[in-house]
């Protein structure tokens, strides 16, 4: 693949030696592992660039996307869950329930396309390609465009970047919000049946305080648990969303690498994904521990 079709056997041999493919498989893996520990993930077969540079330049995009998606998704799921429970005897609950079921049956990459169709192409209210308007120049400092624009004191550019991220992160958020709402609703339901809620009510506490302080604190725990399960889904979702919205994150990197059979890049990106998932899992576990010391570590 890297050689012209008329390459000689000699050239092939030399290339194999250069790529280390003449070593036994286990040794190849160990060499890769050793280099990786030294921060060297190898060179991209396709472009010859350092894989770590490629990843480092792409990672901020994905991280910003994931952060925004979690913020929007958790916020929406949380609020709609509480609202649905608060107004559980009114039509509000049913309408939220129906929206929920609908949101659940649309995979996130379809949400991405739908949102792009409606708001980007149909109503033309939101940009839907790339990270920032090509006309705006932003100095690179951290690589996180959202932070960079703020640091350089450029609110217009910040809003521009934010609006570029809005649709893709909304699409991802729509994938996590519905399940979150369901879990929250059902755990609130369980908690309201418990003894301590009854005694709190007997003490004459107002309904609002009952819900927001006493019940919610305990209801959040299963929801948090779910978040860690969904972390993988969310991060996996960025892959397609980035591709659809032309964001140059590690998802686009991965898809391009797969299409080019660029193995060093594929390996490294897969590893980064695994690390991201593990980190989110750790974070939710830690949060759970903070909120409920009983849970233990």
């Amino acid at each position: 693949m890297l050689l012209p079709p008329n390459g000689s056997a000699d050239e092939l041999q030399r290339l194999r030696a250069a790529l280390g493919l003449d070593q036994p498989l286990l040794q190849q893996f160990l060499i890769w592992l050793k280099n990786l520990l030294h921060g060297n993930a190898g060179l991209s077969i396709r472009s010859g660039e350092e894989v770590s540079t490629l990843i480092l330049s792409a990672l901020p995009v994905t991280l910003q996307l994931v952060t925004l998606a979690i913020l929007i998704g958790a916020g929406a799921g949380f609020i709609s869950g509480v609202l649905a429970f608060r107004y559980r005897f009114t039509p509000v609950r049913n309408s939220l329930e129906v929206t929920n079921a609908m949101a659940l049956s649309v995979p996130e990459f379809l949400w991405g396309i739908l949102l792009m169709l409606v708001f980007g192409i149909g109503l033309r209210v939101s940009p839907f390609f790339g990270e920032v308007d090509p006309r705006l120049m932003v100095e690179q400092q951290t690589g996180f465009l959202l932070i960079d624009t703020l640091l350089s004191g450029n609110p217009a550019a910040f809003l521009n970047v934010l609006s570029h991220y809005l649709l893709p992160s909304l699409a991802l958020a729509l994938a996590i919000a519905p399940t979150l709402m369901r879990i929250l609703y059902s755990s609130l339901n369980q908690i309201y049946a418990s003894e301590y809620m009854r005694s709190a009510r007997l003490r004459g506490l107002p309904e609002r305080r009952l819900l927001l302080v006493h019940a919610l604190r305990n209801a959040v725990l299963p929801a948090l648990n779910l978040m860690s399960v969904q972390a993988g889904m969310l991060i996996g979702g960025t892959l397609l969303i980035e591709k659809i919205y032309g964001l140059q994150g590690i998802g686009s990197l991965m898809i391009d690498a797969i299409n080019n059979q660029d193995l060093p890049v594929i390996q490294a990106v897969a590893l980064v994904y695994a690390i991201c998932v593990l980190m989110i899992n750790q974070a939710t576990e830690w949060l759970q521990h903070v909120l409920d010391p009983r849970a233990g570590v």
Partner: protein, 295 residues
Amino acid sequence: MTISISMNGISTTLRRAGWRLLLGGGIYITLFIVALLAPQLAPHAADTQHLEQTLLPPFWMDGGHTDYLLGTDVLGRDILSQLIYGARVTAIVVVLAPLGAALTGSCLGLMAGYLRGWTEKVIMTLVEIWMAFPSVVLAMLLMVALMPGFTSVILAIILVDWTRFCRVIRGEVITWRDRDFVKAARLSGASHLSVMVSDLLPVVRPTLMVLITLEMATAIMAESILSFVGMSVGPDTPSWGAMIARSLNTVFSAPWQLVPPMAAIVITIFAAMMLGTGLRFSRREQTATGDEVLV
């Protein structure tokens, strides 16, 4: 508790679960019929190009043609026919992938939950490593390793999703394994294998059924994602995800092309969820384990 569902059981299930099961089941029966009869139903062959009639809108819009009810794509291929042939891929995936994942996952889950000890440790460590990779990423990695093709798509989905079955079934088995009926079976001389197969498997069957319906939805999503990025079946086999990817290229001139394949995917996923909810409601009165399967 017997493995076979008696006729009586089916009718009471239907009565109780009502419209959800009927709706979901109905949609799937339609899907299978369409997939089976694709050559008879489709007005055109899926890959016939009509290069003088490209990007036609659906027939009710201006410039549409009743020969191409849902319009044509950029190569002048009939969208309705592609949709009908694409149902074949979905129909096969939706049956084989969940069954394979259920088989692998619940075997390992039963073993882990019942045998405990080092068997459980090995299996659950494997599950944890597996779950560190986002499923989409893992599926794509597997597709790279397996070479593109229809069998590898199904295999990839199975290899990615068995962990869900394994985790849930193990959890359920752990709550049952110390019950008296298991001890009684052991005392009366049943082997470990026989206890797992004929005592524990029937107990977890309801959960397994719900998981399988959820997995149907996941399998459809996974296949559409893989074919969307061009890693599923080859370009000569029509599939819904690939249709979406292709129509994105011409989204400005012909946005309506996106609607049929997207609707098809959403409807089949919705139907799988209806089956799942229906099953869960129908067994709510039978078991007290409730909704923990919502993973």
